[in-house]
């Protein structure tokens, strides 16, 4: 059993950055307020690695991402930060039309090994645009829910040869969990079953994982045995893991924090139901529990994004459907 240390999610991100920057001189951080940030992931990095490895920019998201694209094409491994996911649309043109296009349109002769880290989920900047950018070909999209995965997957993201968007939930920053002492990575792609069950499959990510687990505890008291799958990677998401689970349960609820309409929940449900074998295993219609289609702001956050109660209701709903 590997030796582990209880580490916060925020500190786990810091360790990932520090270790990858030490390991590979091509890795550098670029974004707003990187050098003297009060945020945990960046703390101490400029002192350790110098100003050439930790770069402050003007407030200019489009050029932060654009410059990261160019630097990545020219042999560096930039970890760009878009401070809050709410600001991703300011860089949308670069993210959508350029980042992964270089790789495809040159048939791989140009590669763009860059990471865009961004934070969401609390306070003035709660928006998450994971679903919107999951639509783009060529991007990998990651949303860890534990400190272990935060560190392991950020390291993997930095080592990936394609653009990766890395979503960090601010409400998870202080959550503690076991993190191995030795060097490790968590692969991008495979999901993790957090709770085994036989009556229903709940597919979740980020903060929705712990809320789904809490809902599962409540539902257990009602005789409903819930399997909770933590996707960890939203693109490419682990269809095989979900299909295996559906083979047991035949019932599906997809939970995510971004808006319902056009959200990744729809993509996940569609891709599963398009498969005749999976469709035939279903014991009832699938359901989604996601943010209501209204502007997200902290004053009403808990009424907009799914909570334990809404997730449990969604499960009860699919159990009831004939």
């Amino acid at each position: 059993m590997a030796k582990t240390v209880e580490t916060t999610f925020g500190h786990a991100l810091h360790e990932a950055l520090r270790e990858e920057m030490a390991r590979d001189g091509a890795v550098f951080a670029i974004g707003e307020d990187m050098r003297h940030s009060s945020n945990e992931p960046m703390a101490g990095l400029v002192e350790q690695f110098g100003e050439n490895r930790v770069i402050d920019t003007p407030i200019a998201e489009s050029s932060i991402v654009g410059a990261a694209i160019g630097a990545a094409m020219a042999g560096m491994r930039p970890v760009a930060e878009v401070m809050y996911a709410e600001f991703l649309p300011m860089a949308a043109n670069q993210l959508a039309n350029y980042a992964s296009n270089f790789q495809g349109r040159t048939y791989g002769e140009a590669t763009v090994p860059m990471v865009v880290r961004t934070r969401f989920g609390r306070g003035a900047h709660s928006h998450v645009y994971d679903s919107w950018f999951a639509h783009l070909p060529g991007w990998k999209i990651v949303m860890p829910s534990t400190p272990h995965d935060a560190k392991g997957m950020l390291k993997s993201a930095i080592r990936e040869d394609c653009p990766v968007m890395f979503f960090e939930h601010m409400q998870l920053y202080r959550e503690k969990g076991p993190v191995p002492v030795d060097d490790y990575t968590v692969p991008i792609g495979p999901a993790e079953v957090r709770r085994e069950g036989s009556d229903v499959t709940v597919v979740a990510s980020g903060l929705m994982v712990s809320r789904s687990l809490a809902a599962a505890e409540t539902l257990a008291g009602e005789g409903i045995d819930t399997e909770v799958i933590d996707l960890r990677t939203l693109k490419p998401w682990d269809r095989d893991a979900v299909a295996r689970s559906l083979g047991k349960t035949g019932r599906l609820v997809v939970v995510h924090e971004s808006w319902t309409t056009g959200g990744i929940g729809g993509e996940i449900v569609a891709r599963l139901m398009e498969d005749a074998d999976i469709f035939s295993m279903m014991r009832g219609a699938p359901a989604r529990s996601a943010a209501l289609d209204v502007p997200v702001f902290d004053g009403l956050l808990e009424h907009i994004i799914p909570d334990e109660r809404r997730i449990a209701d969604a499960v009860r709903g699919v159990i009831k459907t004939p």
């Binding site: 003007p58 654009g66 410059a67 630097a71």
Partner: protein
Amino acid sequence: MTVKDDELTDIYQCMLRCRVMDERMTEIRTSRGSKWLSSLGCEAAVVGSFWGLRKDDILSPHYRHYACGLLARGLPYDVSLAQFMGRRPQVRRWADYGMMPRVAGSEGSYIPISAGVALASKLQGKDNVVVAGCGDGSTGLGDFHEGLNLAAVLDLPLVLVSVNNGVYMHVPIESFLRTGDVAGMASSYGIPGVAVNGNDLFAVRRAVEDAIVRARAGDGPTLVECRTFRMGGHWEPDSVDPETYMPGWRREAEVWRARDPLGLVERVLLEREMCSEKQITKMRADVTGEFEKAYAAVESMPAMGAEDVAEMENHMFGGGG
């Protein structure tokens, strides 16, 4: 003189290749009911900016001037033509050719990306530079401001050459840039801005070379504005008469025709007895023959198809193939 005597003939020949390509592609596309984005009249600005750079320098030409940019880089006609005729793009090895691949349409967007390539050069401790092109229309975009500002504050080895032909599509510069002064925007970023006669190869070369020397020395970016004039429409052919959106255009075009960039270089070649009239005429005939041969060869290449899409898919997550 920043153009060495022994290279002037070669530079002229490159400008001639651009001219012949633009004239012939305009004819061919018009006859087939499609369009060509021409660089007619901009040969000094384009070749002056991109000629003779080091192998490890990176070029990011303006879309309109990309075909000519490839020629200025020393690539043969068929490479340039394949790009624009839907044949398997041959400019794949972007790092070998040092040409920014064109993958999407918005001009200003390449400025931050070019700044990023320049950033890599700086972080890697190298002295290769990035010469990026844009038009006057690009000055409207947020990315123009963001990219140039970022290059300025980080002292990046970037030379941004704005070919100002006084119009974007069918909108004259007075309508989108009050001052009409692109070089003047540089002072906002604390970097040098230089405006030159874009039809004068020697003036363009001087300004761009000075900017490259600065960039290589680690002194940061420069904005070079090449003032010129759009000799035709936005595309060729263009159904909208330029006189409608630029009153006086026809008269103005005649003034600029007398400043033809090739004409200026021809006069110098003749004055310095580096070429005779006969040799210049033969050069045009040779280049025309070269073009026709390349065009026929590229046209007979198979068009891109489903297998190209499949191959693209292999590369979309990187490390494929």
